[in-house]
Symmetry: C2
Subunit: 282 residues, 2 copies
């Protein structure tokens, strides 16, 4: 139970985190920090935050500072926060890349107060309007380099995520970024590219609109995702994503070759191999 | 209201169609036709069909013959059916490709009794166990070359699909196959290829299992789909699928180039364009 939580970035993740804490009465007062006045007003209107303050004031008043902003703005914002915190406070980041941030804070005198996390939950929507109650439940939360966090800070953060129904997975930040490229970032790239494919080639949009069933919607829905969030993620995790993307293009070329050569046996083999994903998906 | 319907292929589509008719009391008696004894037993056990008969006997007894089998077996099966039907009966196909079949039946003396349809509904599962009640509702049903069907046959088929909550879309079979490549077939290929990418590169399967969130599941779930259904679809719609697949690979290469060159502006442009899919997806 926290007296005061500061949510830096009151969008999809920060907003949902706040609503989840409030619903479970795990916090008394939530302060929002946001760059845009419109987003501040919306967060207040939706009851995501109780007041909106500049970063410096918010940090001073908060027991827990929860940072959920585009990853290109995380390091400078976090350095500002870390220069203000005392050893009574806890700082958490929820970004989709972890290595750049963890490296930037590695030798910071207050490193112990920081807990690097990535709750594996999200939707294709963004902003305070996208915040949902009962987010996070049943999903994994990655905690990176936990040995660098003070024991009390770590326990507080684990406890709160568990209260939201998450289970913890621990790994080094560099490993996190590799895995995130596979289980999240590449899915977004294929979905964006699929949307561009259809928009480029299929001029009869009415036909798509009429015909698109569950399969299309499922593979392409991530293409609605916010570029302000995803461009920085892709840029920061470039090396890992390029590895996966090259492999993905070569896998698609196998399908292409099997069709060009009308090789049904090869096509069967490719699909049967893909079916092995059944043992990974629930 | 039909007295007797023969379902040729009692899997996902045929089985769901039967359950939907039964639930709405639109049929008195359903005969199943299936190649495997196990599938026949399952369809009986699940109440999908009331009896199982060989094709010839089933066709003779039925008012409506509904064919939902892998598309490589459709033409020979359909020719057999068409040689048996009278002008009191109606034959419907529900396959995912339409051009090869429509061409094969184009000059058939009983062509008028045939209605070529593609209900735009499905899941990644197959077999009688995959059949679900309340399938089809709210989705489009494509009817191809309706002018070649007898008016009474067409009206009966439209009426029954409407009673299941579908709306009709009319097009030439060749156009259907182009659109199906965009809104369905390419989604399956990207999903199969994405599964193969992850299985190839990500050796730490526990990590995927732990971390995979909604985004990954959404883009990769179609990779569970049955090769016995999909290999023939891909082979039959090869030309259209290759067109789309080539475009898709070139779209992925744009993402690759933008990352290699660290060109954030280009990446932004690609994603903003992909976001236009919002106006097509509900």
């Amino acid at each position: 139970m926290f007296n005061t939580v500061a949510i830096v970035g009151t969008g999809l993740i920060g907003g949902s985190f706040s609503l989840c804490l409030k619903d479970r009465e795990l916090v008394q007062h939530v302060i929002g920090v946001t760059r845009s006045a419109a987003s501040a007003a919306k967060a207040l209107e939706l009851g995501i935050v109780d007041e909106v303050l500049p970063l410096q004031e918010a940090v001073k008043k908060a027991d827990l500072i929860y940072v959920a902003i585009p990853v290109d703005t995380t390091v400078p914002t976090m350095l500002q926060i870390m220069s203000l915190v005392t050893d009574k406070q806890v700082v958490v980041d929820a970004g989709s890349t972890k290595n750049v941030l963890c490296k930037a804070l590695d030798n910071h005198p207050m490193r112990g107060r920081f807990v690097a996390t990535h709750p594996m939950w999200g939707t294709e929507y963004s902003g305070p309007e996208a915040a949902v109650r009962n987010a996070f439940t049943g999903r994994a939360c990655v905690i990176c380099e936990k040995e660098k966090s003070d024991a009390d800070a770590l326990t507080q953060v684990e406890t709160i995520y568990r209260q939201l129904g998450m289970h913890m997975v621990y790994m080094h930040a560099a490993n996190h970024d590799v895995h995130a490229a596979y289980v999240s970032h590449i899915s977004h790239i294929t979905s964006f590219a699929l949307a561009n494919t259809v928009l480029e080639k299929e001029r009869e949009e009415d036909a798509i609109f009429e015909l698109a069933g569950g399969g299309f919607e499922s593979t392409v829905r991530l293409a609605k995702s916010n570029p302000a969030m995803w461009v920085p993620i892709f840029m920061q995790n470039k090396e890992n994503i390029l590895d996966v993307l090259n492999e993905h293009i070569s896998q698609l070329r196998k399908f292409k070759a099997s069709l060009e050569k009308e090789n049904a046996d090869y096509l069967l083999e490719l699909i049967e191999n893909a079916n092995k994903i059944r043992r990974i998906l629930k």
